[in-house]
Symmetry: C2
Subunit: 205 residues, 2 copies
Amino acid sequence: MNADKIPDIIIGRLPIYLRALQRLAEKGTQTTSSQELGEMIGISAAQIRKDISQFGEFGKQGTGYSIPFLIERLQTILKVNRVWDVIIVGMGDIGHGLARYNGFGNRGFQVTMLFDNDPDKVGQTINDLEVFSISGMTEKIKHNKVKIAIVSVPAAVAQTVTDQLVKAGVKAILNYAPIHLNVPKDVQVQHIDPATHLQRMTYYL
Amino acid sequence: MNADKIPDIIIGRLPIYLRALQRLAEKGTQTTSSQELGEMIGISAAQIRKDISQFGEFGKQGTGYSIPFLIERLQTILKVNRVWDVIIVGMGDIGHGLARYNGFGNRGFQVTMLFDNDPDKVGQTINDLEVFSISGMTEKIKHNKVKIAIVSVPAAVAQTVTDQLVKAGVKAILNYAPIHLNVPKDVQVQHIDPATHLQRMTYYL
């Protein structure tokens, strides 16, 4: 199948496969099976085989998938075989935590700029990065051609900040504010919503 | 289909449907279609119809789904037609942010207890809740029969804290630490992993 035509629902599962494969690789494992992956991530082996087969032949019957090969292929498809600049807007608790987060390494992202509109926070340094004023944000985004932003501002201003990001050329937004953001069709939004994750578990209680 | 046999992958989509339906309900909308829902959440209309049809007949050809009826049914299936107590362990940036988060209301959860092991934080009040010492955590969890915990401690201690939670009877853990948590089969874990969400978007850049 042409990579341009992969359904969104499959693309959404690939980062989960990639994370599981990287976890196995860190342990020094060289090959895995759809069964093993399925048990790690709670997706059926048949679904995993079907998803992965869309990108070509990765495994042979009986020998399983080559982990380094599959990691490389998934990273290429997801375009994380490079490092993307990411900015964080909103240096409240969550933004501050994300600025110091050490889970982006080896995943294709680096946080390069921080923004807030609180004069007390502007000029502070968090994890070796200076906090800039939102007033100069558009210019800095355009100048550095940043495409990815994390929005961790209060819900009341999240849409306004999003509009500024979109105008500056940002095409992918990770939203921590508990509201729905309206964006043009060519801009992606992912919503970090702890309640949705909790609701996935209550069914089993 | 018997509700006990719903595949995990479908259960994982139901909270996303529920959130979209609640968003429509807040706007006063009474009915919707699989097409409208699909456009809101990026899942195909056919998939949504197939998933929802597993729980019975909710819509009629041409009239669409009744939003209040479908919300009630999904809340019942996901067991969020009640309010679950949730505790947060780790009052760093992320835990502090979650203690003050206002996105749990009307979703089936309330934060009831906060824990940290830093003597400077124990005894503080965040959002009207006192921060308790982790040393008394097991007892408090057992006494209050808490089943759900959010883990927002540093990665280095996340597994130790998880072991304590499991021992105390917690059955569902929302993990913000950037590591994989090992738990028994009867304990659910959801991992809030910003890098995975970012990787879902880079494909489209």
